[in-house]
Amino acid sequence: MGSGRWSTDVYTAADNYRRATGASAFAYSDSGARKAHPALDPKGVTERESRDSDEHPFSTPIAVLFDVTGSMGGVPRVLQTKLPQLLGLLTRKGYATDPHILFGAVGDATCDRVPLQIGQFESDNRMDEDLARIVLEGGGGGQMTESYELAMYFMARHTALDSFEKRGRRGYLFLIGDEMPYPKVNPREVEKFLGERTQPISTEELVVELQRTFDVYYLLPTAAGHGGNRDVLRRWRGLLGQNVLELDDLDAVCETIALTVGLGEGTIDLDAGLDDLVESGSAFSATVGKALAPLQRGGVVRRGTLPIGNAASGNERL
């Protein structure tokens, strides 16, 4: 044994941590990684679980998967800097009880090396680690299709949600991108990237299956390559109906997701949510209001506490 080979003074240590933290937010990708980080590799994964615990007895699973191919330009990097705030936004105003957040990335299985990366459902800052490990492929073909269907296949068949199993409440899945899914799940790609055999399944059928356990939303940032593309919007609206949202300002991504969840949980209505944003000093209420207009459902509005009581959520963002 015998150690102490390295300097262990306080200042060197503090300095090193600072430098390590100041490294690129996509440190893993920027270090030249060309395969999925082991923590995010979906191959052979039985399921990603969102489980209740003593600390978080009423978990609300929220998955955010974004397109990391070339057409998205700098969008993934912006998302990466914004998304860590999501948990705080959700918990501060009680939009969702005990949120569990999973981050992942979607690419193109026909030509990418890393077409699917899926983190874990986390209720603390570990999800940020997953963000940092995402490989930005940056490739992608010019055919305006990405393998969203492969991602949706994983989410439909390889997640286990206590919220659904115990309480019949669906989780939330946000896909952020600017292209269309392929028309069907390709068994060869499933075998290659998930390591299992399956039958071909149309994207339409898959979405129906996925919507059993998740409310699925598609967020299209207008800053992205195909932002606002009519064909892309039409295709997704055909699959998800009104749950397709156009987002003018990417900086508002967290607010948009948080309010969407709040609306889905019935903890706020849109106006109250936008008021919350103004009150908290967010500059994005107009952007978010515009993006969420399609979700203005009217009708039942429950403002205030959820029926499960007033116990403090176990989430604390330190």
Partner: protein, 400 residues
């Protein structure tokens, strides 16, 4: 799942756990390496095929292969030493998770440890001077001892560190500077909850990497020349229901620092690559293969499923090297060190006194060292190591 492997050293440490863990990681994909005892005083050398060498202390020995490390609640975490080790490795913090419940070693623990060893004068225990034992001792009597999750809150961290400083005395560094450094640690490493380890174990085969050796175990070693750490499979059994137990031995016995060492022979020509005389530990001592002590280690560890024998290339280069199968004490043979009752330090202390009187019995030199050791320790040799790199290992295909 029964494909987890636990690696412990059946001697006084330095048998080659690091190189064995690295070889296991090279042999088949591992989800993570879990550390289950000790702290920054560990020093596990790994040399990869492409020539990278690192002495692992808190990062697991699979790091150079990209295998994540999880520091379980049994590890004493030293944020200052960790920063230095991380920097030496290129800051692979994405490969590290730390249980929030693990204890923190602080500069005050370290200073107290060094003062205590200095006060022992010529009667040193062989501590590494890193404050690991001091941290364990402090926690045993202070329920509010600082833990890893405390670094997430400045207020709580400062309160707890201030208490340590006031209890143990100054360490020549301002409290707030330590708070800053520890907070930076808390922001940089992924601090996880108590169920994270179980999740890793569900997700894929893991390796448990022990530190120190069974003969240094806090309850089973030669008291007081022991480490404040459970070096047997005890902690692993707490963390994991089922695993393969691998005991590591060298073809010769080594000891770093003070304490009984019956088969010590300073005339053996055994140059040591990575272990030098440490300021706090004292000299690196070498001797003949001590089958008596190793059999005792296997017994108190609760048995092993297989052995990893390292330095099999050495006997050829050192013709004087022998195996000691029994001791002699007062002219009579002593063939088995009988384990005492659990947690009986009086018994261990008496053993220490007796071992100081013991001399090696007849020494033998086998033709086939691996076979001889297999026979003496009554467990199959699963890994043979003929050099520092993983390419120098022979895995005999019976382990996961």
């Amino acid at each position: 799942m029964n494909d987890h492997v636990a690696v412990v050293d059946l001697g006084y440490g330095d048998a080659g756990k690091g190189t064995v863990v690295d070889a296991l990681c090279a042999y088949s994909a591992k989800r993570a390496v879990l550390r289950f005892n000790g702290g920054a005083q560990a020093a596990h050398n790994v040399v990869t095929e492409d020539g990278r060498q690192h002495t692992f202390a808190q990062f697991g020995s699979g790091t150079l292969r990209g295998v994540p490390t999880h520091l379980t609640r049994y590890v004493v975490v030293d944020p200052l030493a960790l920063a230095a080790e991380a920097a030496a490795l290129g800051n692979p913090f994405e490969l590290l998770t730390v249980d929030g419940d693990a204890l923190l070693a602080t500069p005050w623990h370290r200073a107290a440890n060094q003062r205590r060893e200095r006060a022992r004068g010529g009667d040193r225990h062989g501590s590494c001077g890193m404050g690991v034992g001091e941290t364990m001792a402090y926690a045993a009597s202070h329920p509010g001892a600082p833990r890893v999750s405390d670094t997430l809150s400045r207020t709580r961290l400062r309160r707890r560190l201030a208490a340590v400083e006031s209890d143990l005395g100054p360490a020549g560094v301002p409290l707030d500077d330590v708070v800053d450094a520890f907070r930076a640690f808390g922001r940089t490493v992924a601090i996880v909850g108590p169920t994270y380890g179980e999740r890793l174990l569900r997700e894929g085969p893991c390796v448990f990497e022990g530190a120190q050796g069974v003969l240094l175990d806090e309850w089973r070693g030669w008291h007081p020349h022991t480490t404040w750490s459970t070096t047997t499979f005890g902690n692993v059994s707490e963390l994991c229901g089922s695993f393969t137990r691998i005991g590591v031995v060298r073809t010769y016995t080594t000891r770093h620092g003070a304490g009984p060492f019956v088969t010590e022979d300073a005339t053996l020509d055994l140059p040591e690559g990575h272990n030098a005389t440490g300021e706090w530990q004292g000299a690196f001592r070498v001797g003949h293969f001590d089958a008596v002590a190793h059999r005792y280690a296997v017994e108190v560890a609760g048995g092993v499923d297989g052995l990893a024998v390292t330095h099999l290339d050495v006997p050829e280069r050192c013709p004087a090297l022998r195996i000691c199968e029994s001791y002699t004490i007062d002219g009579r043979p002593w063939t088995r060190i009988v384990p005492g009752p659990p947690r009986d330090l009086g018994y261990q202390e008496a053993l220490t006194a007796r071992l100081h009187q013991a001399r090696p019995g007849p020494l033998t030199r086998p033709d086939d060292w691996a076979a001889a050791i297999e026979n003496l320790l009554s467990a199959p040799v699963e890994i043979e190591s003929y050099g520092p790199g993983s390419a120098d290992k022979k895995l005999l295909n019976r382990i996961p």
